[in-house]
Amino acid sequence: MTDELLVIRCQLGEREAFAELVRDWHPVVERYVGRMLGRSDDDVVQEIWLAVFRGLPGLRQPDRFAPWFYVVARRAVMNQLREQYRRPESEPVGDPLEADEADGVVDRETLARALAALPAREREVLMLFYLEDLPVGVCAQICDVPVGTVKSRLNRARKLLHLELVRKGYQA
């Protein structure tokens, strides 16, 4: 079933469609929150779902659900990041590299750690473009910036990620 059909069923108020939407999109939410915050956060995940269902009746273009969904999720994550930055005793991000991890292939865990060390804006575009496979135009819409800005952030993010991986002991 397409996302559009599922969203329309939700907008009509079908209870089974709510459950289906959560089952289909929950892994995406958890992944997004985990990568953006560098850890899982149930409260933020719940906040995102509440905001999604609160906003669903007003969604005018159900075929544009994915970008809208990311905008909602982004808002909750950014609020959390702002809270985090406000706290003086924030934990340092990124752990030292394990000795047995290297072998030419960057595993997911290490990549996630390197991603967590990037600034939030760069991390975000990298995640949306490469890990969520969204086109540049959609990334721009989600981040509420022009396409050119997304491209420059991507460029900067690639360089920062490369530096971060090199710092952790990986060779490009």
Binding site: L12, H26, Q46, G55, L56
Partner: protein, 154 residues
């Protein structure tokens, strides 16, 4: 957290009974307040204690309206089906108010032009709201059928 745990946490905002309940409570508060205000405005000489009692009752009714308004806009969203149910409830509340004002006017043996105007305006609002809610639901149902047909043809 699993999808089922999320669904359990969303039980309250996604409960149809709760959403419609808020609408019903809000409309009941609004209708009650409106009828008491009407009685207050049209009764010539009310003793002060009765005025205070009326004021308290109107305030209670309006508080329920505020709670329900906050709930359906901030906590428990109204989906297309809920909006149609809410619009029918709104029409019912208008009917109660219209009958109440009619009885009041009949008991005074005179017609109140401003009151008639208010009743007609509220009736129009209720009708437009119902029409709009049903139109939105019909549009979504049509789109759902089209997508189902397209999915079936693939």
């Amino acid at each position: 957290m699993t999808p089922n745990e999320i669904l359990a946490r969303l039980e309250a905002p996604l409960s149809l009974r709760r959403r419609v309940g808020y609408v019903a409570v809000g409309l009941a508060g609004l209708t009650g307040s409106a009828l008491i205000s009407l009685l207050w405005a049209t009764e010539p000489a009310l003793p002060p204690r009765t005025k205070v009692a009326f004021a308290v009752l109107v305030a209670i009714g309006l508080s329920w309206v505020a709670v329900a308004g906050w709930a359906v806009t901030r906590r428990t969203p109204l989906f297309a089906r809920d909006r149609v149910i809410a619009a029918w409830l709104g029409t019912g509340a208008w009917l109660v108010f219209a009958v109440g004002s009619l009885i009041l006017a009949a008991s005074r043996h005179r017609s109140e032009l401003p009151l008639t105007g208010v009743v007609v305006a509220l009736g129009l609002m209720a009708a437009v709201n119902l029409w709009s809610a049903r139109r939105r639901r019909r549009a979504l149902l049509r789109r759902r059928e089209n997508l189902n047909r397209l999915g079936g043809n693939e």
